[in-house]
Symmetry: C2
Subunit: 435 residues, 2 copies
């Protein structure tokens, strides 16, 4: 049986777009065998026709005119791999309204303006798929939407940014933050301007998308509290090592009594925990739910061919479900409130530098106690003219820890801003060691 | 819009069947919201109507007559959760021939008689889905078939049996094999007759299914060489610990120059490797392919509700793709040869007990060298009246290692059967330590 011809278009023809075109050429047989369809790129929108490309498109494919895609009724499916908010947002809306399903890899667009995009798709009765927007080839969106239908996922823990994970694993091997960052740039794991990655904004957008899908309520980038890795020092890394833990930039989306909390921050992860073995530019997402207890997906979270692989999986899924009227719905079906800032709880590791004066330990302990932060373990290490207090707390509210540290920062013995890291471990806090 | 009514039937109403019925009742709203369909169990085949059940079925649901399901044209979808080869095989064939799609959790049936089942399904144009047959709620089949369409998966490493993984992690904590096995029985992780699990046969069936889907060529249980955990001793476990490794029962399916090798055996896994953090009854599957490099899925690999969750995901996927004519094809599209036994290569750890006589080390080393097994590291540990040789080899063929050990076993100084474990590590062999 001859395969059905499916003309598709790309918005963007950079690394990912070229890889999508290459896959559709080189793996045409695989795709036809599985689907019965022959997907071929007939148009690709670019800004500059003359730029050199990884996998040059055939003559007549590249265009600078969006209308050549939007107005071409032959095109039945479009993949957006150009990035950015504008004019991308408007392009996708126009395509959806004209009845063309869209696959997008654009996390910032979805995390900031998802509501309008999804309601437009739903109104037009076409699919908007976005696997590639979170962790590239790791199929976490498909698993959440199609495999965990009857599992009430109530928490997601994720290492969803490869740049920062690479930096942190390099620091574990002895590099300073600056050295690790240059190394990341040298390997192409960090952009020349790494702000979006190292600030946690990239991870925050991905966590907003994951939380939206898992909890069924819209979570935007503005709802995510995030902190990056810029302030991680070698002293933090070596303290973690002494406790048989590693520092990772962890996104956490939690549902507590039908209220959500989504945040990204550096955390201390027990070496025996699955997230601790995520090294270099890899990503991992751990889904915790009723029927599944805990499923973890790990893999490369970025890269041109990995992202292209996810884009193609979405294209194939769209073809495979056309006309059946489900799975292209907006994942949101309810409106949940946000948990008030600071109410979420976690065990913490605190690193507090103080002048070594009589009574300082008592004053610090008193400030913690005053805010209900219960100390499980405290180690005082002498340093030149002072001391570092290493504190592991029992479960405490983020807000309580912040308030206690603020007051500790105002003590006259306080030397620098204290650091607080949530602790992620399957073991009880009392079992955590200090070598 | 009122949901479309979908009457379904179950073959079997044990732990999994009852959990499926419970989920369809209790999560009816979730399923309707996502799919627009209302799935309800109208018949369930059992042997004994009077037996007490976890989630008792409503009056008239249970039946001992298969014909009440097969001949009921109202039933549009059947889930097989009764297990066994016969009469299950015949039942599924009859359902498929009559145009009813089937979801099955039956790994032994698929691994031993998959060819006929899948060709019948394909001939009838209906789906036969089997996510629950491998690792319960971990959606590895869906990911392989739908997400990794353009990734040429060439190797799968899997911890796919929870019973043995629980036993091995208990042994790490100090238990003997017998103690760990009783503990597993006490927690319900092992059956009263644990043979299928501890012998590796269960893991072998799952690896056969995974290899079939990943490589597109039929691999049956008979094609899988397997070895279980019955001969693992505390001496093996503590040697692994000294090298910062753990022992895991690992399934490995490999494609070498379009020839396949599928095997299950205990292996030494480096602590920094993602498979090492798989603890207790959990499972993990690592898929290595071109576009994705490596994706790992981890989660609970067994359990009634976990399996039921996968069964329901398959039911929903069938509804979601009805009539689109793909993904229900037999995954096999080619016939690959098996790699000749013994040709596959791996680094190895060997544990060899010998009498402590002059020249014994040289004689052992000579036997290894004669078979091309190159020693990367050798540690000789004195024991009462003898010595244990701990050897780490560079990459060597399984067959070469077997032959060398056989000859070493015939040396007059040889004390007991030497053990050989493949070593799984992302680090180079020369970096592996010996504390």
């Amino acid at each position: 049986m001859a395969p059905v011809d499916v003309p598709v278009a790309l918005l963007g023809y950079g690394t990912v777009g070229a890889a999508v075109n290459r896959f559709l050429h080189e793996n045409a047989d695989d795709i036809e065998r599985v689907t019965g369809y022959h997907l071929r790129v007939v148009k690709a929108l670019v800004r500059d026709l003359s730029k050199e490309r990884d996998f040059p498109a055939a003559a007549g494919i590249l265009t600078t005119e969006f209308a050549e895609i939007a107005d071409n009724s032959e095109i039945t499916l479009v993949a957006e791999v150009m990035g950015g908010l504008d004019p991308t947002h408007d392009y996708i809306l126009r395509l959806l309204r004209s009845g063309k399903p869209v696959v997008t890899a654009n996390k910032q667009l979805l995390a900031q303006r998802g509501a309008e995009l999804f309601s437009t798709a739903q109104g037009a009765g076409v699919q908007l798929r976005f696997e590639a927007s979170v962790c590239a080839a790791i199929p976490v969106i498909k698993v959440l939407r199609e495999s965990l239908v009857v599992t009430n996922v109530h928490q997601i823990l994720g290492i969803v940014n490869g740049t920062t994970n690479y930096i942190l694993t390099q620091m574990e091997l002895g590099a300073s933050y600056e050295e690790a960052l240059s190394e990341a740039k040298r390997h192409g794991y960090a952009e020349m301007d790494p702000t979006e990655d190292v600030s946690g904004a990239d991870a925050a957008a991905k966590m907003a998308i994951l939380a939206t899908v898992a909890f069924g309520s819209r979570v935007t980038l503005a709802d995510v509290q995030f902190e990056g890795v810029e302030h991680i020092t070698s002293a933090h890394v070596s303290a973690a090592k002494q406790m048989e833990m590693v520092i990772r930039l962890v996104g956490r989306a939690t549902l507590v009594d039908d209220r959500y909390d989504v945040r990204v921050s550096p955390a201390l992860v027990d070496r025996a925990h699955p997230l601790a073995s995520v090294e270099g530019p890899f990503n991992a997402v751990m889904l915790q739910g009723d029927a599944i207890r805990e499923i973890t997906l790990e893999g490369p979270g970025a890269g041109g061919i990995e992202t292209a692989s996810a884009v193609i999986a979405d294209m194939v899924s769209i073809i495979g479900t056309t006309g059946t009227g489900f799975l292209h719905n907006d994942a949101c079906w309810r409106t949940l409130d946000q948990l008030p800032a600071g109410e979420l709880c976690s065990p913490f590791y605190l690193q507090i530098a103080v002048d070594d004066r009589p009574g300082v330990l008592a004053r610090v302990a008193e400030r913690l106690a005053a805010h209900g932060v219960s100390v499980a373990r405290l180690v005082q290490a002498q340093i030149e003219g002072g001391a570092i207090l290493h504190v592991i707390s029992h479960e405490a509210a983020y807000g309580a820890v912040d308030s206690a540290l603020e007051e500790i920062g105002r003590l006259s013995e306080s030397r620098e801003i204290a650091a607080a890291f949530p602790v992620i471990s399957r073991r009880g806090i009392s079992e955590l060691g200090w070598a």
